[in-house]
């Protein structure tokens, strides 16, 4: 209960406002879990709308087709319903949710013969060591050794908006992500596309912080290269 009569500081006016369902999902995790345990349909529906897109995107990094990825998302939500009664809050709800997805997606991916665990598949660990940028980009010898041969150009501050306005560029980015080795794709999808924190990504994918950074760096380097001609060459 609030006894504040005068709305000062001004922000208080907003803090007194009733939070929307989506704000509740993000802020009040205990309330969210309790509502799901009670079987609150409105909350389930809102949580599902909030996370399903992200889940689908991540599932696609494990299984070969979108249809299978959609099934994995369905299975994940069923897993949530089965497990929500036992959820103890040792990890955040989001981490827990994504963990359910990765476990189901791995099982499906193995069955569909695409996914192999970290470090085992040849294609997965390919290129995880050594520099992410080719030797040909840098001066090989002499006083300027290790410096750019063709220095990177400046991108305009409105690059993200301009890039995404062009359908062609958006498709190129999606293709670049799809073409990454699975483990790089999983990391960049969670970190950069979905905005999950580094710590949570390590928990979700059960990888070390160092490994997370290496994979993220390689993935970002590749996506940047794809983006470059669109934003720099004035193609957008």
């Amino acid at each position: 209960m609030s006894f504040c009569v005068w709305p000062w500081p001004p922000g208080l006016l907003f803090s007194l406002a009733v939070p929307t369902l989506q704000e509740t999902i993000q802020l009040d995790e205990t309330g969210l879990v309790q509502a799901l345990q009670r079987g609150d349909e409105a909350v389930f529906s809102a949580v599902m709308d909030w996370y399903s897109g992200s889940l689908l995107r991540l599932a696609m990094a494990y299984v070969p087709s979108r249809a299978v990825a959609e099934e994995v998302v369905q299975e994940t939500w069923m897993g949530v319903l089965e497990g929500i009664g036992r959820f103890e809050g040792r990890s955040s709800f989001k981490t827990w949710l994504f963990r359910i997805l990765t476990n189901r997606a791995k099982t499906r991916g193995t069955r569909e013969r695409r996914y192999e665990p970290f470090g085992l598949a040849g294609s997965d660990s390919e290129g995880d060591e050594g520099p992410s940028l080719e030797d040909s980009l840098f001066v090989a010898e002499g006083s300027g050794k290790g410096h750019w041969i063709d220095p990177p150009q400046g991108w305009e501050p409105d690059t993200p908006e301009r890039a995404l306005l062009s359908k062609e560029c958006r498709m190129a980015i999606e293709e670049a992500i799809n073409g990454l080795p699975d483990n790089q794709r999983q990391v960049i999808t969670l970190r950069d596309v979905e905005g999950v924190s580094a710590e949570e990504v390590c928990n979700i994918l059960t990888i070390s912080e160092t490994n997370q950074r290496v994979l993220l760096h390689r993935a970002r380097t590749k996506v940047r290269r794809v983006l470059d001609p669109y934003v720099h060459g004035g193609k957008t």
Binding site: G53, L56, W77, T159, D192, V193, V223
Partner: protein, 102 residues
């Protein structure tokens, strides 16, 4: 003379990192996982090298672009199916609860 010395000193310190090394450390820098010495050298190099500054900015814009990618659309029938399953689950839950009560 003094200025020349300062320039040489800066070039020496920044010279510890080439553009290539700096570019490879960008994610570590953005993630805040460089050691103090590495960070100082990184920043020193950035201060002197416009090409690496551009490259850092490009990586930042790449991340910002990825963050703004439209969300993957979930088909309406998947959503409906899930809501149906949710209602079934809820019914089972309540029938289980009532049978355990009686």
């Amino acid at each position: 003379m003094d200025r020349n010395f300062k320039q040489q000193l800066m070039a020496y310190m920044a010279g510890n990192f080439t553009c290539r090394e700096t570019a490879e450390l960008i994610t570590d820098y953005l993630e805040g996982s460089l050691t103090l010495t590495q960070r100082l050298r990184f920043q020193m190099h950035m201060g002197l090298c416009f090409a690496c500054r551009n490259y850092l900015r490009q990586i930042k814009y790449t991340v910002a672009t990825l963050r703004k990618l439209p969300s993957e659309p979930v088909p309406a029938q998947v959503r409906e199916e899930l809501m149906k399953r949710f209602r079934n689950w809820k019914q089972e839950q309540s029938s289980q609860a009532s049978s355990s009560d009686s």
